[in-house]
Symmetry: C3
Subunit: 426 residues, 3 copies
């Protein structure tokens, strides 16, 4: 099918970019495919590549597709689907390289939000509804919150052009999840195991404000049931820059169900507010869909193994399906469990959230000493590995690892929300 693909790609490229292009897929198996580039002014609306289309793509059938969505608020949103032969990973370059979902057989990483479309950022107003506009597009499995700020909306100070400190309204979970990617490249390793890498660059930058670059690589090995996100955040400004980054990773049915559990090795666990405190005894067990349920949020200080890695598991009630997140606690020292087991129609979901801090307003995070800062030119790397685990044995193996990391340490359970630090507010 290469020739046909080639003609189609060349046709689409030429029309979209307004400039003639050679068809990369027609070359002698190039291993790098530019899908979007603000630098070279390219935007490929439709793309398809399989292990047969490249010279050193390996023997395991895989396929990468890109398409553009239409209708309603998803007009113009783009999706890249990486099918590694076992997992189908759906990436949203138009929305900051979020991941819409991952499917594998009867397991799905993702959830059913009342927001059904992949909302294009041009239809998002983060400031609306008292700073909750982010919720108009919230439906992904994995959405990054950040980078200048994340967490709850509300007032915080910033420096204006005149050097004065002024108040601004922070918006829920920041901007990065609603910024279209400037650069997107597909890379196919020529060497076994022929890892498939989708690399994106997203800029959160302005004049008199942050100049932050996110370079993300979402990758997977053909035939495996794992994927990796490796992000590098760089301060391209000339001054120190505060950052926040929450990996808001969300799960609904079928993994989430009555009796599903979350496991994570913990030094300390605290309820985020009084309402969460009332459900503290069941903090790691889930209810079924419960109309009128009000979210309960738990703040976890995770324990790591000797290499600095921590590990969280979400498993279904039967314990025969599960998914795990492995991350480095030096990179992401905090972990939040967001329980929102409301009615299915309202979005039955839980969020597991490795992060640089907790989802309080930045004012609180700063006062609590949980804000990260980047010096001029400094970069910080964040890596997360996600696994799907099918069968009781596979699930139990992850649970056992978590128990080993927990070891003899008894988690301290705070019965009441942490005291709010002094933010200097009157």
């Amino acid at each position: 099918m290469l020739p046909r693909l080639c003609v189609l790609v060349a046709l689409v490229c030429g029309l979209v970019s307004g400039e003639p292009m050679t068809c990369r897929a027609a070359d002698n198996a190039p291993q790098k495919f530019v899908l979007t580039s603000a630098t070279t002014n390219q935007q490929i609306g439709h793309f398809e590549l399989t292990h047969l289309d490249v010279e050193n793509g390996g023997d395991i059938p895989w396929r990468v597709q890109k398409k553009t969505l239409h209708g309603g608020k998803q007009e113009g949103s783009e999706l890249i689907t990486v099918d590694n032969g076992k997992l189908q990973i759906v990436i949203v370059p138009t929305r900051g390289m979020n991941i819409l979902e991952v499917r594998s057989g009867d397991v799905r990483l993702g959830w059913d939000s009342p927001v059904k479309e992949v909302v294009h950022p041009k239809f998002i107003d983060l400031d609306t509804r008292g700073g909750l506009g982010w919720l108009d597009g919230f439906n992904e499995w994995m959405v990054r919150c950040g980078l200048e700020f994340a967490g709850h909306p509300g007032k915080d100070v910033f420096t204006t052009n005149t050097g004065d400190r002024a108040e601004m309204d922070l918006t829920l979970h920041g901007k990065i999840g609603n910024i279209p990617s400037s650069e997107v490249v597909l890379i196919v390793d020529s060497e076994p195991p022929h890892r498939l890498r989708v690399r994106g660059v997203v800029y959160e930058r302005m004049f008199f404000g942050p100049k932050l670059q996110l370079v993300t690589e979402i990758s997977t090995v053909p035939g495996s049931d794992e994927l990796t996100i490796e992000d590098v955040v760089t301060n391209q400004g000339a001054g120190e820059q505060e950052i926040e980054l929450i990996y808001h990773v969300n799960y609904g049915a079928p993994l989430l169900e009555e009796g599903a559990q979350v496991h994570v090795p913990a030094k300390r666990i605290a309820p985020m507010n009084d309402h969460a405190a009332s459900g503290l005894d069941r903090w790691n067990t889930y209810a079924g869909p419960t109309p009128g349920y009000i979210e309960q949020v738990y703040l976890v200080e995770p324990i790591s193994d000797r290499s600095g890695q921590s590990l969280a598991l979400l498993r279904n009630a039967a314990g025969d399906r599960g998914t795990s997140i492995r991350w480095n606690v030096e990179q992401l020292p905090y972990f939040t469990v967001w329980k929102n087991t409301t009615a299915v129609a309202d979005g039955y979901v839980t969020g597991l959230e490795p992060a640089t801090g907790y989802p309080y307003n930045r004012r609180v995070e700063r006062a609590a000493g949980r804000l990260a800062t980047l010096d001029a030119g400094e970069s910080r790397t964040f890596r997360l590995d996600f696994g799907l685990h099918v069968g009781t044995e596979a699930v139990e193996q992850v649970a056992g690892t978590i128990r080993r990391i927990q070891g003899e340490t008894q988690p301290e359970i705070l019965r009441t929300p942490p005291e709010m630090p002094d933010t200097g507010d009157e």
Copy 2:
């Protein structure tokens, strides 16, 4: 012309959607044509169909066209024109299935707004200018206000993700008129009278907020001088949902002119504010274009006939051209007359507005008991029939019907604005 059309449509479909499509118009007279679908990822940028292009389209020449607009703030906005042989109805799927105008000979339903372009929602910020951003795109004959809220901007309470009641800034006339349609289908009845139906689905939904679906059908019979809007609003959330819906139907020249009149059978009529009270004696007669005119708004409790229908008429000074709205007062129990007979350059216009309430802020509407609510899963239907009436006899016939509905009832005329209900505000 079918073969040429077919090639063009197939070409455009293929390019826009990125996927090859069969040309529906080339089939054996299919009666349903998908113009937009978020579900099946279709967006037809250009479309044309006539009574000759379908097998059972009837003998009366009609034509439906779709095109995409360019330039300024209308870049990307789409228009569907339904020409039933007598009326040309111009629908804006990109703006919530509003209707830009209806033309028939020398009569026009519509007006000349200072906003000349069909503004794409991506250029609208409803929150700007103290919540008056809606005015940046306001130029249609018929625009729905709603669905979560309509009417004046200002503070009201809502429920946050944490279950708390917080204040939010409502924006003028809500969101539904600035949301692109997710699904748009043209349906041609195979049975006489071969009614032409443009059906659209628009979603006003978010996480931690309303999950409302509007299914609208705008339809007309070939050769007739009537059109019908039938809307079904459904609460797809799991909890009770307040809704507001105002049909903001606007008229300028040539129907609106000095001496033009509005007729509506009324139980009670009240001025909306003191300024309107000062013009109460002329509430149903219009001035010519008056530079510096400040809007005057009148609140009407309409009377219905035995079948529940009410009827409003706008007629020109000579009484030989008119247009009517027929609606069910159980569905839409309130009716507002918005007089804005300012200079032509500033938008000489009147609005006739059947609605679930009055255009006060939702806080006021709630306190006054005029807010509608939908239970989980509940739907509510709204139907309006619009007619054009040419000639003194035709106009007088409608006026006579309105007099018969009014009957012996003397409308109560309030000389002062209604007392504001207690909203619980301090």
Copy 3:
């Protein structure tokens, strides 16, 4: 290359506008080329024309190109490059006919903003960050601030639909720089010197608000090192309208460097705030890139020559490269020097700003008597001529002209910021 161009243009036109078009470039040298038109529904995504493509285009090689940008926040932004054989002028019709940069050999009019992409207005929210959202797209050489308001964000009064005076939040530098052009035409003079003119029309208009039209013509003579901006702003509303217009013209390296100077004939010079007052003695000399530098702004009342023209010069340290702005002080009676010699990564830049007033909030400008108003239907013209000057002699010639305009007048230097006028605020 004409035939190939013709086919390409026709193809693109046909696809983008959805309608077949004749290829203008294939005609017998037409001199007017529509690139965008909301009136006739045209949008040419790709365009190219040279002196060889028109009959009376002259002998000096020139080229005009239009392309559409892709990737990140510049997706869909358009650029028109006018290469007059000596200058390359890059116009952004999508952003209110701003000018991104002008290049000529080793001289550049422009700067290196941390905002690298030509941000499409659909991604701009002017109200965000306390009204500083304009900074998300700020990277042009020349951006107009206005038209309803310009300058600092903050509260000011306006008239609502009900005739009441209410407060609204003005946003930094207004809207005109983020409104896509409704009409864009390229005109090639048939008569020598065959001036190339790009004419654009941008509307800042709404219902219950301003109805302002900007017609701009950006023009240059093939082979010259000058360009002219001639703007006509018209109040298309029926009432008096306040306007503000600042030509925010920005320069970075290589012209801006340590020891660079600005020259302008001045009656009076004042620092905008206390911080600027502290640097008053060096108000017209620039520092090199200085991390942490806080902007310093100087307010200048310019002197004109007998014909009403004033002239400003920015020259490099060696005095062998310079650029000038010539304008009429009746049209633009005020001039602001914005010094922002911060680190290169943060945007090392100076702005020279002929304007109708100073960049205070409109509330202040009104109270100080610096607001311009347009009667109903009234137009006001603004013309600016820009020159590049290479070589010590050429630069010195401009400096000499400025000295002659200054003449014997000693500029009054205010040591402290001007007293704030009484704005009626409590």
